[in-house]
Amino acid sequence: MTLLDVGPAPQPVEAPEYPADDRIRVRSRGQRLRGPLVAALRKPGLVASVLFLALVLGWALLPELFTDHDPLVGVPRDKLRPPGGEYLFGTDHLGRDVFSRVVYGTALSLQATAIAVAVGLFAGSAIGVVSGFVGGRVDEVIMRFVDVLLSIPGLLLSLAVVTVLGFGTVNVAIAVGVASVASFARLIRSDVLRTRTQTFVEAAAVCGVRRPAILWRHVLPHSVGSVLVLAALEFGTAILAVSSLSFLGFGAPPPAPEWGALVAEGRNYMVTAWWLTTLPGLVIALAVLSANRIARALDGLGWSR
């Protein structure tokens, strides 16, 4: 008899018949959907955050829809105009529209942010998963290395990395991502350690499932929740870090617009033309706040579980 032969089919055990438990009422789909929607409307901060990030995403994807002015070529006659009807955020010393520079700069800044978060998420998770799943001496060594990384201030580490890699948006992004690898690794390691000791993981091993398959099918799906929330939180931090580095001049070379670089360009006119630094800075601040607010809401929804 091979393993897949049909064995003798026994008679099913007759379950005693009593009235079933009918105490549970599930509200209809409409009623259920209404709950979260109403709850969301009660949090205006969250709604505003979602709308603002949607707008910023729009800027990044289709900047020409949001502004008629050229971000690179200015009108010298209109230089250093204060914010008004024609120029929403005013103009700079070359007569370029600051608003359209912010809008066109979004793509580069967001791209750098996304790369930074992805580097942190994937590299950090890979290191943390290996550390937690293999355990023992490997874990010891990796975690001491992570300790060292954690002891260096993030921006300083990014500066060091970008100095080695050279200038450019992608290099800035990688530098920012490397700085967050350690915290991702630490977080997912603790989740993997917790999941690894669950009974169903051991049950899989008893069934003869190989270790890589156990990791992929059983441990990972139960461990990624909190790093995903951390990734969402990291978005805000990464926007700030990328902007900081581009403010220091490590980002895209001029005249390409980038959020941090815009703030830097306005430094010399701080007293006479406040809008050059303030308005791009405000956009950065709002983007960071919105990202953090949304990350908090995701955490509250139970993503980390």
Partner: protein, 538 residues
Amino acid sequence: MSAPLLTLSGLHVTYRAHGVEVDAVRGVDLELRPGEVVALVGESGSGKSTTAQSVIGLLPAGGAVTAGSITFAGRELARAPERVLRGIRGAEIGFVPQDPNLALNPVKRIGEQVAEVLRVHGLAGRREAAELAVQILERAGLSHPRARARQYPHELSGGMKQRVLIGIALACRPKLVIADEPTSALDVTVQKRVLDHLQRLTAEDNTAVLLITHDLAVAADRADRIVVMRHGRVVESGSTAAVLGAPSQPYTRSLLAAAPSLSDGSLVGTRTLDDARELLRLEHIGKRFDLPGSREQTTAVDDVSLTVRRGRTYSLIGESGSGKSTLARIAMRLEDPDRGRVCFDGTDITRLRGRALRELRRRVQLVYQNPYASLDPRLRIDEVIAEPLRAFGIGDKAARQRRVAELLDQVALPAATARRRAAELSGGQRQRVAIARALALQPELLVLDEPVSALDVSVQDQILRLLVRLQQDLGLAYLFISHDFAVVRQISDEIGVLRRGRLVEQGPTAQVFDAPRHDYTRELIAAVPGRARTEVGR
């Protein structure tokens, strides 16, 4: 007849969460007179704990009394303000919670926790309360009460902690004590001592007791009246003798039939052991564990030898900490023994590693105690059951699906179960799935680690019958781990009694039961609840 102390009439309790409403209790009527012991019996989810919690106004979040009334000593409690309830809780109604390991504050000394009840109800000042606390602990049956009062909860055993909680519940000499499954987290011998003590103390003070339990045998031993609940309604109530002797409802009858007791016959009959070849042999197994935070070691298993035969059931019985689970894990090769040999089908598997160990998994499978933990909640049931087949690359997808359907049929689950997830199934259904997964590779030996102790009695009975039927159909050998003598008696051919890692007695089932040679075996058998019921039933 005296006036009732506690009256519930038409009590309705509803839980609300995430768009789902559950009417946990639907119209319960209950009366309790002073000094009376009433047992509220039902399976998990029957609403018995919810009923008890609503009396003291401590329903979990989302729960609310929606209709009906709760009258205690002439006062209405269902809609009483929190301030009034606080004055009654502890002082007039004592509460003994289910799990003593969770119910005490781990960072406060025992004495302070007992004294706290007296102080918050203004019955004693600080110094006086400390003195009274020692007396209460002594009355609760703790040895060295003065020393115990200065200890922290982690320094006490489970049974001692439950005594402390009983002491706290009775500290203010309440008129009513609600005991919510007071002993289900304890070993049988401890359970008996704790219940004896509770009974004596409440009898002295003429305290009424509302005893919540899923165990009919416990109810039979302790209660004057029994109230059977199901799906939030009272199915049957009456004096203990009437309910157990002549149950009028089919549900009560089925509960009674399902409850294992020592008077029940064996499900497997007497099978000869001589013609069955040996399959698993443990020889002089020893295992020690390091104690966390100290250099000492504890002995988990000490020089145990036993033999499991093909097509037969060997049961290991013992209390928690006796080393029975460690022994099962050594037999499964999930744990390495320090000394001794594990032989399977004539070959030494003690040091098997890697590929050879994985091949062994085809022939030996394990069913865990807790079906809520042993199934991956993210996988569908067909994926769970097919997992061992996938792991060994047996059959293609369609063949595996056919095998899953066949296995579901073998464990008497509907075919549609395959598309569901573990969270949608009840405990009994989950345990059937776990058994189906264990059978997928057609093993020769199943190690069953307390496979029914997390289940309700009626479900427990169904699973035991299923195991017996599968053994007959497939010729499986079982190594069955349990703490429950009544269960073991029903399905075993041989029994080994473990105590502190040593096998104090082993032999054929009938011999161990009818002529136990070791005092500890006798003590275990005597502690099994349900003696009263056996007598009533006759």
